[in-house]
């Protein structure tokens, strides 16, 4: 991963370490500190142009760039997988501009950048999970005016968020929202967890790691310091529930992980496998197996593990 020869001019290179200039990184760090000091509060920051379009994780990339150092070990996942094009290219990007070691192993990583998932394996103190966020404002779908949503946060007026849950129950007989399910932070700020499945919501509560959320286009950073209380909204008669599956993971047999449905052929055959590819691989290495262990997909996933 490291370059073959040391850079010609070290000072100059470090000036642009991790792609962003030092001043920008300082500005982002200040926003991060503010966000950590007020868990769930959306701190504005001066989002920079990044070498990827908005929607490709510019917020997460800027956060990572602001906190990463040469001793970090970096992991990047997209929908739980380390091997998607997006995850691979962001990982390569940081290997190059920040000169860091990369890994797919959740427990080895010091910084994990993610889109749409939280790893199955519990995070530890010292780790930072960086979320890519398309829309930081949980109330935006219901209230278009920024001045109004800002006032709602300032004065803790969160009745409106319940309107969306109400609509869900009216339409589906239950709270059908599955991703980006709104949470209350320390009973003070309403927060969008980014489009992770609600399955992952309980993992945020009392987490030992630092959780950072970055929205590039919307220019907002928010954060959860370790051991923050995170509660998913619900009604007294419709309590919060996570998704569950009839099946276990077809490859590793896991009963408690978030499963993706994989369509196998035109005949409609399908299988359910862990969305967290690293987690699934580790379990199989440890000897666990599911009903379709040995399937060719098994190899594909295994093949990616270094």
């Amino acid at each position: 991963m490291t370059e073959a020869s040391p850079p010609a001019n070290l000072a100059e290179r470090y000036y642009n370490y991790a792609y962003l200039d030092e001043q920008t990184k300082r500005m982002i760090r200040r926003a991060i500190l503010k966000a950590l000091a007020i868990p769930g509060y959306q701190a504005p920051f001066g989002s920079r142009e990044m070498p990827v379009p908005y929607g490709w994780g510019t917020g997460g990339i800027q956060l990572t760039a602001a906190i990463i150092g040469p001793d970090d070990v970096y992991k990047c996942i997209d929908q739980g997988a380390d091997d998607t094009t997006n995850a691979v290219s962001i990982r390569k990007f940081f290997a190059k501009v920040a000169d860091v070691a990369t890994t797919e192993d959740t427990s080895d990583a010091t910084i994990i950048q993610t889109r749409h998932r939280i790893p199955e394996q519990s995070l530890k103190a010292g780790q930072v999970l960086v979320f890519q966020v398309p829309q930081p404002e949980p109330l935006r779908g219901l209230e278009a005016r920024e001045t109004e949503t800002r006032a709602m946060h300032a004065y803790e007026e969160y009745g409106l968020q319940y309107v969306s849950l109400y609509e869900n129950i009216s339409a589906y007989g239950r709270i059908a929202a599955t991703a980006g399910y709104p949470v209350m932070i320390e009973e003070r700020y309403l927060m969008s967890p980014s489009p992770i499945p609600k399955f992952d919501n309980p993992k945020m509560d009392d987490n030992e790691a630092i959780l950072l959320f970055g929205a590039g286009r919307e220019k907002r950073i928010y954060a959860l310091p370790p051991h923050t209380r995170v509660r998913s909204l619900d009604f007294e008669d419709y309590p919060f529930e996570v998704q569950s599956w009839e099946e276990n993971c077809a490859l590793c047999g896991a009963e408690d992980s978030y499963l993706d449905e994989v369509v196998l052929d035109d005949a409609g055959n399908k299988m359910f496998v862990c969305s967290d590819s690293h987690f699934c691989g580790e379990r199989r290495k440890a000897g666990h197996s599911g009903p379709m262990a040995g399937h060719q997909l098994d190899q594909t996933v295994e093949g990616n593990t270094p």
């Binding site: 009745g159 309107v163 969306s164 109400y166 009216s170 008669d237």
Partner: protein, 264 residues
């Protein structure tokens, strides 16, 4: 026609020397009056006379240039609403008041169902039991004579008169003490208008609500209001008991206003 609340009651609203200038343009000038619980006050006058300006100032939506609006708040008693902190003022607006706009689009969330629009004030007041809110919503849809089977339809699928009923339910469900209405029947067909007015009159009476209703329609004023403020060029030119103002108007402007209407 409205059952008048205890006349000894303390004022619910006290307005003193209220003026609003838009730069050099006069919105309203030196308006003073008091209202008691259960009173219905009509504000009439021609277009541009300052009715909406006054209503906005009274309802905490537009800071007056001078003067005071005091409201009997649950927590602080009779208080200058513009001296309250913003969150306190917003809470008072949310919990103690209702505001029925002329255009339902200004008063409804068009993206959420009629039922959720009606239930929202309950959620804003901290209700967290879906079943109970659903029940009150159905009850209120019945009270405003809407087909309860359409509870989950979006407002845009309702007619103007029906949207206005949703707005009325949304503004009454949380048990406000004072409701502001700006031409609540303004955009409607005459027949739809009559039905809605009648409904409003019944509800206001049954609930013993205090209402300030802006209208340029004398028939609406006669039907709804106990008392009238007649406005002209931003000033109140006449005030009094509704039937007295309409049947024996004293000011030249009021006489003109009344005589230009047939059969009220």
């Amino acid at each position: 026609m409205n059952a008048v609340a205890n006349i000894q009651a303390e004022p619910l609203l006290r307005v003193q020397g209220l003026s609003k200038w838009y730069g050099h343009v006069l919105g309203c000038r030196d308006v003073s009056f008091e209202m008691r619980p259960g009173e219905v006050l009509g504000v009439v006058g021609e277009s541009g006379s300052g009715k909406t300006t006054l209503l906005k100032c009274l309802s905490g939506r537009l800071v007056p240039s001078s003067g005071q609006v005091e409201f009997e708040t649950r927590r602080h008693g009779l208080t200058d609403i513009y001296a309250l902190s913003e969150p306190d003022r917003r809470r008072m607006q949310r919990e103690d008041w209702g505001f029925v706009h002329q255009n339902p689009r200004d008063g409804l969330r068009m993206r959420v169902s009629g039922g959720a629009n009606v239930a929202e004030p309950l959620m804003n007041m901290g209700q967290r039991h879906y079943g109970e809110m659903r029940r009150s919503t159905v009850e209120w849809l019945e009270r405003v004579e809407l087909d309860t089977s359409r509870i989950d339809d979006k407002p845009r699928n309702f007619s103007g008169g029906m949207q206005q009923r949703i707005q009325v339910a949304r503004n009454l469900i949380h048990g406000p003490k004072l409701v502001f209405m700006d031409e609540p029947t303004g955009g409607l067909d005459v027949s739809v208008q009559a039905r809605l007015l009648d409904l409003l009159r019944e509800l206001v009476r049954d609930l013993g609500l205090a209402v300030i209703i802006v209208t340029h329609d004398m028939a609406v004023a006669r039907l709804m209001a106990d008392r009238l403020l007649v406005m002209r060029r931003g000033e109140v030119v006449e005030t009094g008991l509704t039937d007295q103002v309409l049947d024996d108007p004293q000011h030249a402007y009021t006489q003109l206003l009344v005589s230009s209407v047939l059969q009220i």
